[in-house]
Amino acid sequence: MKTDYQRPIDWRQGRVDLNHGAGGRAAAQLVDELFARAFDNEWLRQGDDGAALPAPPPGHRLVMATDGHVISPLFFPGGDIGGLAVHGTVNDVAMLGATPLYLAASFILEEGFALAELKTIVESMAAAAREAGVAIVTGDTKVVERGKGDGVFITTTGVGALPPGRAIGGANARPGDVVLLSGTIGEHGVAVLSQRESLEFETRIVSDTAALNGLVAAMLAAVPEGAVRTLRDPTRGGVATTLNEIARQSGVGLHLDEAAIPMQAQVAAACELLGLDPLYVANEGKLLAVAASEHAEALLAAMRAHPRGRDAAIIGRVVADERRFVQMTTRLGGRRIVDWLSGEQLPRIC
């Protein structure tokens, strides 16, 4: 595309200013030279306000999910807000058993935000989208005055195609089913927290942020339709909160085996130091699955064969319990309830 802007964007020293959101030349230049270039695809190239997309094959249903991303710091060990914004929404679509196809992205930029950082974030989004096999087909950019944002907020909306006859959801768990977890817990939450001033560690724990649609596809291909009842990614609130959601939606109880829940030693140690329960710490690249017990081993094998599920484990079972409690046999051999998270998890001293 031919550009007729007077001056090139200063990627080194430049900062977001109110013109970038005003819909004029500066805004168009930013869209052309940053977003359109990074996300490049046939729909964006058309340059319209929306994207006209091919419909999924007959019998398929559309799945749609949206997720706003606000995170501090914007850059954390193992990722940044850009990659996270793609992974979060791709995973939400994938957790219904759908194939994620397209994303829309909306940016709220704070006046004064460094263009160099924005570029890094946008390129990280583009890389995440390429890796997940989805196209970012439409978007929007707004600028708010300095002090009215936190650098950048990104909202992504995803669309995917759900094949006929597939019913995966939080309400489908049945007594006798097993609960599987795709890998080690707590890395994202600890990685972000450890970057905050005064909680700093000298060891790098890296966020697990990743797209899970590939893993889901491998899982669904390994077992008959219907064997996987529920898929969900334990993000905010962690594994404990997600399992309580499933128990409530399905009207069942869950019984976990603490010793079976995979965790990195460093994450365990960091949680001890901060007084956090890793069961409540956020993950961004893990999923929980509830599956029919007769297919559990095949499903586990398929998960372990995939790079995103190498440490997968069966961590518990679904039981009949009208109180919908999530219970756990502790590593010590005792029993306890794993309750909903109350409030935000804050580091404790006591």
């Binding site: 700093e200 060891t203 724990i205 140690a269 130091l273 007084g275």
Partner: protein, 74 residues
């Protein structure tokens, strides 16, 4: 109350500061309250301060006591 954990002193730094390690995580803490602590010692860390030293021999004795209970239970 009083979340505190045993950590290994791996490096003394300026003044009372020291680097300690716990399960592969390293953190800077103050040894001002345990002036006798040296590299290789285990200290009990609370809110960024070591508040006590851990005696490895006594720890071994306590573990041996648990083992006795295990014997008696057999």
């Amino acid at each position: 109350m009083c979340l505190a954990l045993p950590a290994l002193v791996v490096e003394r730094r300026d003044g009372d500061e020291a680097l300690v390690e716990l399960g592969g995580v390293r953190k800077s803490v103050s040894l001002a309250l345990v002036p006798a602590a040296a590299v290789g010692d285990y200290v009990v860390v609370h809110v960024g301060f070591a508040i006590g030293l851990l005696d490895p021999e006594e720890a071994a004795r306590t573990l041996a006591l648990f083992a006795e209970a295990a014997e008696a239970a057999r």
